[in-house]
Symmetry: C2
Subunit: 472 residues, 2 copies
Amino acid sequence: MLNENHMAALKALVSDKGLVCDLSDMATYEKGARYDEGRAALVLRPQTTEEVSAVVAYCVKNDLPLVPQSGNTGLVSGSTPDATGTQIVLSLDRMTKRFDLDLDNRSLRLDAGFTLLEINRRLEPHGLFFPIDLGADPRLGGMIATNTGGSRFLKYGDVRKNTLGMTVVLADEAGTMLDLNSDLRKNNTGIDWKQIFIGTSGAFGIVTECVINLERLPRQTATAYLVPASGAHVMPLLRAMEERLGAYLSAFEGMSKDAVAAALSHVPSLRNPFQGGNIPDYVILAEISRTWEPREGEQSLDAVLETVLGEIWESDDAPLADAFVGPASEMWSLRHALSEGVKHLGKLIAFDLSFRRGDIMAFCDHMKAEMPHTFPEITICDFGHIGDGGVHFNLVVPKNSTTASDPDFEKRLRDFVFSIAVEKFDGSFSAEHAIGRKNQAYYDQYTHQHIRDLAKGLKSITSPGKLGTVRF
Amino acid sequence: MLNENHMAALKALVSDKGLVCDLSDMATYEKGARYDEGRAALVLRPQTTEEVSAVVAYCVKNDLPLVPQSGNTGLVSGSTPDATGTQIVLSLDRMTKRFDLDLDNRSLRLDAGFTLLEINRRLEPHGLFFPIDLGADPRLGGMIATNTGGSRFLKYGDVRKNTLGMTVVLADEAGTMLDLNSDLRKNNTGIDWKQIFIGTSGAFGIVTECVINLERLPRQTATAYLVPASGAHVMPLLRAMEERLGAYLSAFEGMSKDAVAAALSHVPSLRNPFQGGNIPDYVILAEISRTWEPREGEQSLDAVLETVLGEIWESDDAPLADAFVGPASEMWSLRHALSEGVKHLGKLIAFDLSFRRGDIMAFCDHMKAEMPHTFPEITICDFGHIGDGGVHFNLVVPKNSTTASDPDFEKRLRDFVFSIAVEKFDGSFSAEHAIGRKNQAYYDQYTHQHIRDLAKGLKSITSPGKLGTVRF
C-alpha cells in the first residue's frame, strides 16, 4: 500500500511536476475520455524512458500496482484505475519530446505520448501521415497497446502493420529498458519481440518510444453512398468494388438504418441526403483515394467512381439498389455523427466485434431476429468497417427502462451478445480496443487454457510486476 | 540416439510411406534446393497435424532432435540436417490436402506444405494471389518460418503482414496442437501468439496449417529502367516516384553495374537494353500495376509512367539521368537472371542484408571503397529491394583463388561484412531468410543479452524439445 515514504521516493524519481496527488488535479486521469471512471492513489507523469524505468522499478520492488495511461479514449476500461483508490496511474502525457522524421525511410521515431492529431498535424507539410483513421484522439502508446484499426484499415492496415520498432520498459525489479527500436522494414534475426506489446493493454511493458511507418497523404478522394440490393448483396458489392478499384478503395463502411436515423434526428448540422428523406435499411459509405495531384488527361476520381458504379449497376444480379456520388466532407460527417446520434436515443452499450467479412450481415440479421425475444426493449444501431470485418454493434436501452436498472442487466446482455458472436460466428469479442477490465471475464472464458498458461508464463518472464488493468 | 525401437515406433505414428530411411530416398531431404547439405538420421513425412503432433511428442519424450523442413530453398541452413547424421528431418511435403478458399473474406485456409507456385496456380482463376513474389518456390510453412518478403514488399508487405492465423505443433511432451486459426483481420483479445512462430526458423513450433490474406491479381503493369543521376539521387528518385504514384508503385529494385554485366554476359537469352550497350553504374527497375482491366477513357499505365517520368525529369535537381519504359517480361527477366549471372563469375557468397532505405547506397559505396583493402580479390555484385531497404549483397571470389581456399576465409568475410552492416549502419544481418545454422553466431553476437534470455525463457515455456536448426 502506498505510504508517505513511497510518495517522497517516487517524487524524487520524476522531474518537476511529475507527481500529481492533489485530488482535483488527479480527476482528469481518473475519468476516461468517453467511458469509465475510477480512483487513483497517485498520478505519475514521467518525461523520459529513464524516468519511467526508475518509477517502474520502484513500484515493482514495493509491490505497488501501476496502470499505464495514454490518451484514455478506449471503450474497455483499459487505462483508468479501478475504484479502490490503490492504483498508481502512470501517464504518458508528458512524453512528447522526441520527434525524428526520416523522409527517405518514410518513418518517424517519436516519444509515445504524442496524440494522433498532433502527429498528423506535424506530418502534413511533408505530405505524409500515420494512416490510422479514428474518431477519437488517442496517444500513440495507447494505440499500440490496443492495436487500433479504424476506418481506413482496408487500405493501410492496423497499428501492428505500421509499427517498425519501440522502446519498452518492463515491470521487473530493474525496470528493464528494452530497445526494440528498429527502423528496418525487413529484419528477421530472431523473435519479433515488439509484437508482444501490441494489443496487450500494457500488461507486458510500457511503450515509451516508437518507430512508425508513414504513408503519403491522399491528394484526391471521391465518396459515394451505396445502397445494397439486400443484406446478402453487401459482400458481392464489396468484391465488385475491390475487383474494379484495387488499392484505390480506402473505405467501405456500413451504416444501419437505425443508426443513420438517430444521427439525422439528433445532430442538427446534418442534412438528410436520401431521396424523399427515406433512409434505406443499410447504406455503405465507399471512399476511393489517390496520393497524387490531378494530372492533365486523367479522369477525375468522381468520374472513376461513377464509371465503376455504372459497371456494377449493369452487371448480372446487380448488388446495387441505388448509389450516388457526393461530397466527401458531408458524407463522412454523417458517418462520424453516428455514435453521437445513437447516444441521444438512450443508454448506449457499445460492442466492438469482428467477423469473417462474409458473416457480418448474417450476425446482424441473426441478432435483429433474436434480440427482441430476450431483450425486447433494446434497439440495435450497428455500423461498422465492412471491409475489414469490424462491427460497432451498438445497443440502446430506453432512458426510462426499469429492466436496465437491474445491476446484473449489462452483464447478462454482454454474455448474450458475446456467446453468439464468439461461439456461433467464430467472431472476436474485441476487434480494436483490446481487453481492459471490461473484457477480462471474456478473455478468461474464451481463451483456451493452454494459451492462458503460455500468457502467464510470458508475463512472468517479461513483466512479473503489477502492471495494467488486465490479468494475463 | 535413434535406435531400431524408435524407428518402429515412429513408423507406426505416420501413415503409409511417411517414414523414409533408404539412403537414396533420404538424399533429397539432405540437400538444400540451392545451398547446403547435411546427413539425416531419418526422414518423416506426416500428412496431418495429428500425425505431426504424435511424432513430435514421441521425439521430445525420447530426446530425439527434429529439423522441420519445408521447401528447403533458403540461404542460411535453416532446414537441412547438420553433418552428424543424428537429426530427424520432419518434412511438410505431404501436408497438401486442405485448401479452403473464402472469397468474401479474401482469405485462404490451407495445409502448410503447399508450394507458393501451386497456391498461386490454384488462385489464378479467382483473380487472386498470395502476394509474396520470390525467385524460389518455397512451401508455405517455410515462408512463415523465415518471414519472406520478396520483390513486391513495397506494395504488399511480407508474410507476417499477410498471415491471419495458423495451427502450430509445439515441441513439448504432449506435442500440443495450438489452434491460432483465426480468419479475422481485426482481433485484439490477448497476445497475438502467431507472431512468435513467424520468422523464427521453426524453433518454437511446427506450423502445419495457416490462414493467409489474398490480394487481387494485377491486370495491368508497366515497367521502366531508371538511371539515377548519381547514387545520392536514388532516394530522391524513390520519393518522387512514391509521391506521384502512391499505391500504383509495386516494385523499385536496384541493380549494380557488375551484377547486370554478369547476367548479360552469361545468360544467353538476355538482350542488352542499354544505349550503345553501355551499362550504367546503377539501374532501377520500377514497376507500377493496377488490379483492373483497362477502361475506356483511361490512360494506359505505360502513358502514366511516361508522364510521371517526364515530371521527374523536368523537376529541379532532377534525380534522373536516363529512363525508358519497356516490356515487363524482358525487364524482369534481366532482374531475375542476376543471381544466375553472378554465379558464373566465381564462387558466390551471398548476404541478405537490410538497412534504413536512406543508408543502402551509402553502405554499398562504403563497401566498394573498403573491400579492396581487406579482400582484394572480391567483386561486389549487389542488387536489392531499394523500396524496402533489402540488399542482396553478393560477393564473388574468383574460381582459382588461393586465399579463398583458406578454411577460415568465409568466416572472416562474414564477420567483416556484418560488422559494418550491423555496427556501423544499424542494419540487419538477415533481412528475409531468418537465422538458420549459418547466422547462429551472429544472433549470439548481435542480440542483447536480455533479449536472448527472454528468448530462452519463451523457448522453455513453448517448445522445450530439440527442434530446428537455431539455438535460442
